[in-house]
Amino acid sequence: MYIVIAGAGRLGLILAKRLTEDKHQVCLIDKSQRLCGLLARELDKVMIICGDATYPEILREAQIEKADVSVAATSGDEDNIIISYLAKELFGIKRTVSRVNDPKHIPLYKYMKVDNPVDSTSIIARVVEEEASFSDVMNLLSIKKGRLSIVRVDIPENSPVANKSLKDIKLPANSVLISILRGPEIVIPSGSTSILPGDEIIAATLIDSEADLTKSLIGKV
């Protein structure tokens, strides 16, 4: 794929490096002449363009019209929105991804139709929250604005389902077990599979059923 990244801050840079390692073609745009000079020497597989990516001529120089994805990763939310807007409206890019610097600005990203605004602040806050709650349940992924969750549940010794086979366990409606991680093994469960203490269970559940699922697997909420 060809990916254009605007903003060579920490995020833009790590993204450019990883994507080139995965054999993607990457173009990185940044305003700072000094930084671009350094990067041109360091990243020999990445095309570096020095300029303000909120200007169409700079995006044209980056041949953004050939890009499969555009990533706006500058530290200014108004700049990221304009970059994504130009990519979409002027150059017809199908998929625009953008970093959200301040979660308060998310509504503007939505109104301006940025496909995928990534709010790192809220993501980190949620991870910290999960860690701090010492929960046996960890939310791995939220889909459809959080209505569907993929969760990881650690099965404790005293779990009501420990050493039972799946066909004898009653799970709440709208929940399904996807797999069991047992040491190095990944088990795709069937009716005769037993759940053992220490297992990590990956399950999909609707948000309303998450508490019930937790209760049936570890005995408490």
């Binding site: 200007y55 108004e78 304009i82 509504p107 301006m112």
Partner: protein, 131 residues
């Protein structure tokens, strides 16, 4: 009285706010408190110290009732984003915004969204002077 919101306490913003506040309901928004404090008794409007990219700020300023919105910060992209959103989401009839770049004036101008470029404007005036 018309209800007018001005974003950006730039020189232009300040002059406009001061004059309009004699005849209209004016709210001015800026994220720099010092600039807002520079208004003395000669301004009869409301001042809001906040970030205009936050829709809560716009709603607090009464954007739903506004007759006109001026975007006069020195930041082209901010002016454009807030202007577009004001039109799409809040359906403001008159939106006037300032950009420093002539190219952006062409791309972003649309019906109900007047994009003003000082350099272009001055050029037109200068041409008129010799016509």
């Amino acid at each position: 009285m018309r209800y007018i919101i001005i974003v950006g306490c730039s020189r232009t913003g300040r002059v406009l706010a001061r004059e309009l506040s004699n005849t209209d309901n004016v709210v001015i928004i800026d994220k720099d408190l010092k600039k807002l404090d520079s208004f003395k008794e000669d301004f009869n409007g409301k001042k809001i110290w906040a970030d205009a990219l936050d829709v809560n700020t716009l709603e607090k300023a009464g954007i739903k009732e506004a007759d006109a919105l001026f975007l006069l910060t020195g930041n082209d992209n901010l002016n454009l984003v807030v202007g577009k959103v004001a039109k799409r989401k809040y359906k403001i009839k008159k939106i006037i915004l300032q950009v420093n770049d002539t190219m952006k004036k062409k791309i972003f101008g649309e019906e109900g969204l007047t994009v003003i470029n000082k350099t272009y404007l001055l050029g037109e005036v200068l041409k008129k002077c010799i016509s």
